[in-house]
Subunit: 172 residues, 2 copies
């Protein structure tokens, strides 16, 4: 099955992001607003319990992370994705890298890791520039403590179901 690992931020931030995703993100109905920690990867059913034990170990040795929305940004020219950039990059990158390593699967990431919450994607160039321009004028100031992340699997319709919750800095 195809799995992914993500942080769901607080309801407050999810609601704010969803009010925009509704218009700009075709994946709006497939998964709540999230920070991807590990891009989708295939695991055989027989190996999932081992991988979960590895992820538990990573979660246990990582302290809860105080995150902050930095600014609205875009992945253009790579693709027309508009997103909220999340700080601190280093701590999240370290967690991302430990998960890549422990999941014991080939790295499926094509680009360097940029912690973010997607607001819009698959936008035309014109839409992209309009959305980015107008959102840059809005205030997205927000900070919170992240104490958990989720392992999800993808259904045939493209939506994601949570399989397991992992707590940062705790026995899981």
């Amino acid at each position: 099955m195809k799995y992914g690992i993500a942080i769901f931020p607080s309801k407050k931030l999810q609601d704010k992001v969803n009010s925009l995703r509704k218009r700009y993100d075709p994946h709006y109905a497939l998964i709540p607003p999230h920070i991807t920690l590990k891009t989708p990867f295939e695991i055989e059913d027989s190996k999932i319990s081992d991988v979960i034990e590895q992820i538990k170990a990573v979660a246990k040795e990582t302290e809860p992370i105080h995150i902050k929305v930095d600014k609205v940004s875009s992945f253009k020219p790579v693709n027309n994705v508009v997103y909220l950039k999340i700080e601190p990059k280093d701590v999240l990158t370290a967690l991302h890298e430990r998960l890549e390593e422990k999941c014991d699967v080939e790295d499926t990431a094509e680009y360097s890791f940029v912690p973010h919450i997607t607001i819009g994607q698959q936008l035309s160039d014109e839409e992209h520039n309009d959305v980015l321009g107008s959102l840059k004028l809005q205030d997205f100031e927000h900070e919170e403590l992240v104490d958990r992340f989720q392992l999800l699997y993808q259904l045939d319709n493209g939506s994601w179901t949570v399989y397991e919750t992992f707590h940062l800095g705790k026995e899981n």
Copy 2:
């Protein structure tokens, strides 16, 4: 915030149910196919950790449950909901009742507990009868072992985000 407690069955069963929900269930995009263990209830933020500890205790003392899809049925005339009936009722009812009790909130359930996975809802009488008639001819034979359930909260757009995973018969 508004919370709910549900079991997500295996991907195989979710995919089968989603292929029908897509046409018949307006909540298709709000939550994956599920067996509701506790109908939505409000909890103040300050009380959620205590409630989670109570739910952990219930999960720990409940053994994994071997469930079986019994047949296609309907809540008509109460409402035009078509669903897969899940057996064994007694074990699931016991779990439901322990959760009601331990969540320490007033019982919000208006009807007696019937473990089920919704296929269609808000159907007109004609649609309801057509869908029920045609699904009764289909084979939904399926069984599996349920070893976990999820605590979810509802976002402003009506969709649900998982907050916590609980394992049956284990320290959580």
